[in-house]
Symmetry: C2
Subunit: 349 residues, 2 copies
């Protein structure tokens, strides 16, 4: 499942400077973030649909307590996540995995840490009825809530034009359409790849070279740094941890969660995880599926050990971390939606 990485020793270069130049300007290796993500045929984008999706994304009344929306854990004022190790849902209940950022999630071929949702649409169905997240009993309850807010009836009608358009499939289509606008272009890395030699610092360029040289790109490749292009619905997975025996694995409990096997029950999928994107990784601490590691530099150290079986020096860790900081893109301006109301009545029970 792993991309082959051409070892540096076979590259036809004569000195360090030349090597650096060649590697850093290898356009097959480094790709800027595309302007737009893939859009499924059965859910084309439209302004009205994106607006509706934004409202639903910010809608806390899609939770049992009226306190938890998509944005609670995928906060668009922050890194598209919640700064927490594991998310906190209704009534202070805790999840077991770190909230992945929603920024650029539209470029993932599958969703969730274990890739169990084949699309943004399917992903959006999960948290609403997860008992430790938004906690509604089922999707029928969610739709009943939305139907109590006349503004949604109008908006769904406008977007989907059906006779009875307020249903879960349309709701998640709208949410996914909004999420497809949550793209962060123009990171220093992207600007460098597009020809601006000054976009990266000298250290960051060195980190970029090290990132390739050490083997990080075996998995973190492509414009999303999450692996080779995959058809939508098909995940790119790796075993984590790959190399056992490192003390950090126990210390941070990195092998307690069985990853894909946790939901599939298949032993062969134990500890398989979707390779996470490194886009905006500076904004999405803490790290790993259980959010156990607070510092990005520690995460880099651990990845070297558990995935490549190498001990990076403190200097190498620092330089690679500086490069990862260059993957922070520009967050678009987002106007807070004006959520519909039931005049003179609360729909929270």
């Amino acid at each position: 499942m792993c991309l082959a990485l051409v070892p540096f020793s076979v590259l036809p270069v004569s000195g360090k400077a030349a090597l650096e130049t060649d590697v850093l300007h290898d356009s097959a290796r480094w790709q800027a973030l595309p302007d737009t993500p893939p859009v499924p045929d059965d859910n084309p984008q439209s302004e009205a649909k994106i607006e509706l999706g934004k409202a639903l994304f910010f809608e806390p009344r899609l939770s049992l307590t009226g306190t938890v929306s998509c944005n609670s854990c995928h906060n668009l004022a922050e890194g598209g996540d919640d700064s927490r190790a594991v998310s906190m849902g209704i009534d202070g209940k805790l999840g077991t995995r770190n909230a992945p950022t929603v920024w650029n999630a539209a470029f993932h071929s599958v969703q969730f840490w274990d890739g169990r949702a084949p699309s943004l649409e399917e992903q959006a169905k999960g948290p609403i009825i997860n008992p430790v997240e938004q906690g509604l009993k089922d999707h029928a309850v969610a739709i009943r809530q939305l139907k109590k807010l006349p503004g949604y009836m109008v908006a769904f009608k406008q977007v989907f034009g059906e006779k009875d358009p307020v249903n879960i499939d349309n709701a998640v289509k709208a949410i996914a359409a909004f999420e497809r606008t949550l793209i962060t272009p123009n990171s220093p890395y992207d600007r460098f790849v597009q020809g601006d030699e000054t976009a990266l610092s000298r250290t960051q360029k060195e980190g970029m070279r090290l990132f390739a040289q050490k083997g990080c790109m075996s998995c973190h490749s492509g414009s999303m740094f999450n692996g080779p292009p995959m058809p939508l619905g098909t995940g790119f997975y790796q075993r984590f941890p790959t190399y056992a025996g490192h003390e950090e694995i126990k210390h941070y409990q990195l092998d307690e969660d069985k990853g894909r096997a946790q939901t599939s029950g298949k032993d062969a999928e134990a500890h398989l995880w979707k390779v996470p994107s490194l886009r905006n990784v500076a904004l999405t601490a803490p790290y790993f599926h259980n959010g156990s590691v607070n510092e990005l530099s520690d995460a880099v150290d651990i990845m070297g050990k558990t995935q490549l079986n190498i001990a990076l020096s403190d200097n190498e860790i620092e330089i690679i971390t500086q490069f990862l900081f260059a993957l922070t893109g520009e967050r678009p301006e987002i106007q807070l939606p004006k959520l519909p109301v039931a005049m003179g009545r609360s729909i929270i029970e």
Copy 2:
């Protein structure tokens, strides 16, 4: 403490139509919302301060769990509140009172249901360290958190220009400055008062007349419908319930919370409450200090009984409720802030 209300019988009118016209166009009685709220001399508005205040208002890392910001309970995507009977803070903990709307709070002369904070600045200090709200141990912890986010250091410096500007007094000044922009002008009522005769429906005009005639304006007077103009820091209070014995008082537990006496310990202040504004009341269900009444029409019914000792007919209740719907103003556009980050590190512990 109560404004004198001229009884209708003494108004020099000859018929119902004339009476209605006179009452509805009595400019001493009906006032539009001012464009801007009072601003204290020691906290002048500035663009940069408002921006900083907005970030702090949306800042969940000002809570112990990283999940609760001012906006959690005073949601600007909704009615400036949370649709809940009583608010839910960190770890799902419950408060005891209904979150008042932050829209137009800048026009209140005192803050909180019991008026215990003399300014927006003082109010903002409370929830951050309330154990069932944002739950930080003290303000020193809050400031320590902010100082971990370099972007705040820069923003506070820009706004306050002091040597060590990140402190609680400056933080709440910024929050208050932002809140002074949260004004909702141009409600149908305001447009009517400003001369647009078509802004209110016939029913709403009738409700407006009834609202005056029945005595609601004894307390709910002025441009905010919360009493006579008071110097900043001075509250306008009423006893609630005033007339005992109505079954709704027990049913909705309206006399369990002792209001101002709860914090002051003074018996004389038992069941004294700040007269709440009726601005945007259609958006702020459920109602009363304990949020026990879900429907605005029921709240109108109860107010008639407990405050005026009159039984309004179903028709009168409906008509007055329709008038109250006309107090819904235009919510300004709000761009979501981009909160500062500590690169590659979470500040939530």
